[in-house]
Symmetry: C2
């Protein structure tokens, strides 16, 4: 007997008409198939209900976009007027310009901005801008990173040919020497280095940059006239209102944003420095729905709320409160547990858990307590996670830690 | 003195913070810079207002997505409930499954469906599915076609390297012999042929397929075990509720949709036949906002309205009425003018207009009459274009034809 008859019935229907049933980052195989629900029905604030009517404290927040809280009523009020005037014009509209002005105002190095609908739209476009600006081919990135689903970088293996990656090379996180070797090997042919503000792979702890890493990469790029491109899609505007490069002391040439920009409305952005404006103009960019004034207005409103309510600080404080609470609760039953990465996007690990059994058992048990904790992807907080929700989560996690400890001992 | 002080002021602001001021298909250079407005403020039904308060009968309809009419109140009612329950869940939701069921129901050859946010998401994914399914590299397409902005096919020149297109080859529309030669040349290495339901380039008349063209392409694909992929993004569900392959007698293996699916809400789709389900499962596909139940519900509603109100028939009738009316009006002042392509998406040409001066002059004059007619891209009709709007457009076009004729004569 499953706890999720409606989820399972819907997945069966899905399997008939969708390859694999579900795909991408929210497919069952990405969490714990048979243990997690597969379909959501509604969400509000920091909670959602699945299609079987069970309610969860949501620590994934739509995998990042939801930063104010689900179905934020003030956001909906803020965009209702714009929406009533149409959402797909035959010309651009003022919010496009306002949002470009807002991003160049709040991001210190940004002289210009463009917009898309997906993160991949922007990382791939940024790659092309770098190639156009430099007349070179080679792109360096961190091993095991996620920059989207396009052929040059997708984590998938299907449908890729060698030519898609013939000029894509990688080096390990924090290995500036490894980067330097590639600069040496491909002297005069490196267009850009892609980085994230910190390393946030799936299935592994998040890692911050060692103090010398970013300065060294910046120096390598400067010496070679290559671009340093920041993929700030995962946590952009969650850590700092001016972008994540600021807390980490990074100085990028281009930076890509998405997710937390508009609390779930579909929009992404790339900003850049003046010397790359001309190249940016040369790389064609468009999409069927890109003049949507609703998503642009939602971004303007969300960014404003993030700033006026100092939400990045709130997220960090709540994340730290959660980290301390969960660590303490785990220790009480003899388990070593910690949240890695920043408070706004914590990645959970158990000590001595090389096969990931402990984290899976814990997340499965936590789910039964109404906690939506992902075992293999960083979590996300939102402004609707107040001290009350955090403390509730810590309390609910206690029996889950106990269950994880007991099962572990019984094997 | 400009007629568009607000448009121009906003474009000046845009130029400071956006490379080129505006980009993509709605940049001023794509129409008639200095003559057309650059920014829209609101839209309703078949009309929109620019930021200077001028109203136009809109014959671009957001470049295709708007098929019911701008800001359709019944559509907004239909999605309001879903929207109030959240738009970016941590799990998929039922409308995803319902929409896949609906597409496989209405599209005769479709056994499965997946969804994205842009047309390019789907054409590029379909290319990868074909490579995965066949283990081959070569992709054939029609010369001068538009399949999106990704590197393998973008009409832009910036940021592209030779490897992006090392296995992409083209042949002219209606030239099945040209396709056969490529099949011969690349025997055993052709993964897929991309086609559109009819040829709809920019800056040229639309062209339908000659009777033997699609059957011959189908035969070439069958003999070589290559996929025939239909890019039905431009007019999918505008010509026929079951997809545009039906009126043109084409039998595709995969087909891509976008634009008219959801009346402006951001969604795209790819459907395919059973033999390619496994390959489809192997090609990773995801995006930050792809579980959005609002866009999925908007698509369900829009497709239903298209079917129950037989809107494709209405669009064709209105398009034909417009074509006859404009041709007659042009003839009255001695000009040869016609609308090419299907009624739902007519492309305008003047006879003896190799340098395109006539069409530019006509569209500039029509704009002053409150008609938003694009000189170099096919137009789009919507359900809100009733006989009243069409006849109004024909009346308003008369002085524009006269102006085009007079100016032409006076040169």
């Amino acid at each position: 007997m499953t706890d999720f008859p409606s989820s399972h019935a819907l997945f069966q229907r899905a399997s008939a008409v969708i390859p694999g049933g579900l795909y991408g980052h929210t497919q069952p195989a990405a969490t714990l198939p048979g243990v997690f629900p597969y379909f959501a029905a509604s969400a509000s604030g920091a909670r959602f209900r699945d299609v079987d009517g069970r309610e969860y404290l949501d620590f994934m927040c739509g995998y990042g976009p939801v930063v104010l809280g689900h179905a934020d009523p003030a956001l909906e009020d803020a965009v209702a007027g714009v929406r009533s005037r149409g959402l797909c014009f035959s010309l651009p509209s003022e919010p496009l310009v306002e949002l470009a002005e807002e991003l160049t105002r709040r991001i210190d190095f940004a002289d210009w901005a463009v917009f898309g609908k997906n993160g991949s739209d922007m990382t791939t476009w940024a790659l092309q801008v770098a190639r156009e600006a430099t007349g070179r081919r080679k792109i360096l990135h961190i091993k095991g990173v996620y920059h989207g689903v396009d052929a040059w970088i997708t984590p998938g293996h299907g449908g890729i040919i060698p030519e898609d990656r013939s000029h894509i090379h990688s080096f390990p996180w924090n290995d500036a020497d490894g980067a330097a070797k590639l600069f040496e090997q491909f002297r005069g042919d490196i267009a850009a280095v892609f980085v994230t503000p910190y390393h946030h792979p799936s299935y592994a702890a998040s890692e911050f940059a060692q103090p010398a890493f970013f300065p060294r990469l910046r120096q390598l790029c400067d010496e070679a006239n290559a671009l340093l491109i920041l993929d700030d899609i995962r946590v952009g505007f969650r850590l700092h209102n001016g972008g994540s490069h600021i807390p980490f002391g990074l100085r990028p040439d281009l930076s890509c944003y998405c997710k937390a920009m508009a609390n779930g409305y579909a929009i992404s952005a790339c900003v850049g420095r003046e010397p790359f404006r001309k190249a940016a103009r040369q790389v064609f960019l468009t999409g069927s729905y890109w003049n949507d004034p609703v998503a642009l207005t939602a971004a303007l409103y969300t960014l404003k709320r993030l700033e006026t309510e100092n939400i990045p600080d709130h997220l960090e404080r709540m994340g730290q409160r959660l980290a301390v609470g969960l660590k303490t609760a785990a220790a009480e039953v003899g388990l070593g547990f910690e949240l890695t990465g920043p408070g706004t996007a914590p990645y959970p690990i158990f000590h001595d858990d090389a096969n990931l059994f402990k984290i899976q058992k814990f997340c499965a048990a936590a789910l039964k307590q109404g906690l939506f904790f992902h075992p293999h992807h960083n979590w996300f907080l939102c402004a609707a996670h107040t001290e009350g929700e955090i403390d509730e989560a810590i309390e609910r996690a206690k029996p889950a830690f106990a269950e994880a400890a007991a099962r572990e001992g019984s094997r």
